[in-house]
């Protein structure tokens, strides 16, 4: 039996069809010793939408993504995914349910090439056993080629063909961020979590990244949860926004609704947007 009731979804102003609830966070509370990083927060994420989480530094946004990806286990509350209550899982198990992410501080595998980093993202699609791999035979070789083809598509999509064989450690910051997105995309996730994908980028790089995020959502229908500081970007990209402050949820709605919310203006917009 489903743990939630299915519902219909809605159509956005620009005509994209948003589906039913993909994931529901229910009364999540997360503590680190005495610090309460997340206080009794509930919100949902719908199939196909771009859902933003905003809030000042230390508000608990990254912690929230870490709860979704199974890296932190909240003391209270539950995560409902695809209609079912999710049991306690290790992060790699969560990854196998179709959730991929990027990190606020780039977390690429520095000793590997760009190609190998992105191929690692295909991990959950590769099933050859250790003996087939050791012999480089049958399933192992076939699988390697098939997945390489998928990875090449991602590489083309993100326009990083020229650095395919470059060791990641040699790349500039902006490209690293893009490779990290490529690695997450290669997993063909149902839900993609992006933790400040544009932080530290110049204007041009930001524009590129925006375009990629919108294209991913458009072309593959990937559901995206996005943490971002740049309010302009958030307003442009997202369908719905959760606003957090000191671990609490102080707003939730369309960008317009959030922009006109008294409490939000006081806590966040008023401070940064003057």
């Amino acid at each position: 039996m489903l743990d939630t009731q299915p519902d219909e979804g809605y159509t956005t102003a620009d005509g994209r069809k948003i589906g039913g609830v993909a994931m529901e966070m229910k009364n999540i509370t997360l503590r680190f010793g005495g610090v309460v990083a997340i206080k009794d927060i509930s919100f949902d994420i719908r199939w196909g939408e771009v859902r933003a989480i905003i809030g000042p530094n230390g508000a608990g946004k990254s912690s929230m993504l870490n709860v979704i990806s199974g890296f932190y286990n909240p003391q209270e509350g539950e995560v409902i995914y695809k209609g079912y209550r999710r049991p306690r899982m290790r992060p790699y198990q969560v990854a196998r349910t179709g959730i991929a992410r990027t990190f606020q501080n780039i977390a690429l595998f520095e000793g590997m090439s760009v190609l190998d980093n992105i191929m690692t993202g295909r991990l959950n699609h590769m099933k050859a056993n250790i003996f087939q791999q050791a012999m480089w035979w049958g399933k192992a070789q076939k699988e390697e080629e098939e997945n390489r083809e998928k990875v090449e598509k991602v590489i083309d999509f993100l326009e990083i063909q020229h650095i395919r064989k470059t060791p990641v450690a040699r790349l500039p910051y902006g490209l690293k961020k893009r490779v990290e997105l490529a690695r997450a995309l290669a997993a063909e996730p149902s839900i993609l979590l992006l933790d400040e994908p544009m932080a530290g980028m110049n204007v041009e790089e930001k524009e590129d990244m925006c375009r990629f995020i919108l294209d991913v959502n458009d072309e593959f229908g990937t559901t995206i949860v996005l943490i971002e500081h740049d309010m302009g970007v958030v307003m442009d990209l997202s369908d719905r926004v959760v606003v957090m402050d000191y671990g609490k949820k102080i707003g939730d709605g369309t960008p317009d609704e959030v922009r006109n919310n008294e409490e939000v203006i006081k806590a966040y917009l008023g401070v940064t947007d003057d």
Partner: protein, 358 residues
Amino acid sequence: MLYREAGDFKTSYTSDNQTFPIRFDRYGYYFVLGVAFLVMPLILNDYWTNALVVPFLIYTIAALGLNILIGYCGQLSLGTGGFMAVGAYASYKLMTGFPDLNIIFVILLSGLVTAGVGVLFGLPSLRIKGFYLAVATLAAQFFLIWLFTRTPWFFNYSPTGMISAPTRTVFGIPVTGASASALSMYMICLVFLVALAWLARNLTRGTLGRQWMAIRDMDIAAEIIGVNPLWSKLTAFAVSSFYIGVAGALLFAVYLGAAEAGEAFGIDKSFLVLFMVIIGGLGSIFGAFAGAFFLIAGPVLLKIMLVDNLGWATDLAAHLEIMIIGALIIVTLIMEPHGIAALWRTIKEKLRLWPFPY
């Protein structure tokens, strides 16, 4: 312009994935294989086979194994000597317990036994990292040697505490025991090394290798994108220990013929193999060959030069050797953390562009 791929225009992803994308390298590799199997047997004499070539082959296998664990998976181990001892004693028990079992199987089974033991001692790696893991493996080293010297069952209650390899044959040719010829020792070690190097290459370029490297480079991110840390680390310990066990079995059964755990497989062997991996190049198959060659051939050549030709005292030469190796390790760690293999790669990159560097 000789040293070049046919442009970076691979027609398929298979050819792009080749071990030797450059034709020159591929031919070089066939050439080396040809020399190893066809020419060396004709020109090798007993002295060089015993002093240099066979130990080189065996230690390369051990270095390949340790490189998988340290260089690819990032798990430091100082237990190599102990794991080689497991391989050696396993082969002894198998040879004496099952006299009809072919020596090839004996060696492979010894590798499997060592893999099992390696997984057991690898379990702490799930909780502890880096320095602390090194200490845990060091404890494994001392425990294993203690076990093999104190438990008479392992050396079949022989009064000397030594194990000695009975004669075993492959295709009727003795490869272990007193009657084994230098040539047959060479051939069996070579076959094992070539096969194991090929398997290591395949494992490290595929999914499992990428999982190992992901754990090495950033274990938390690796787990979040779907790498099971338990599986990756334990497979690394298993595969690595398999190689080291095979090396231990070969060292005892084929090369030494007789051994005693503390003497043949002490902590100095753990460090020897570790230095091979560091000097040769962490995370490189070629590095295992280069490092083993350097640390096996170096002392032999130094001795020939200093003692035999210049008439130095043996202990003086031995001290100099230790100093040179120590200095080399420090220099490698500071200047080129990826060892000889990385130096070689840099040279090749330059060569690939030569004569037009831009």
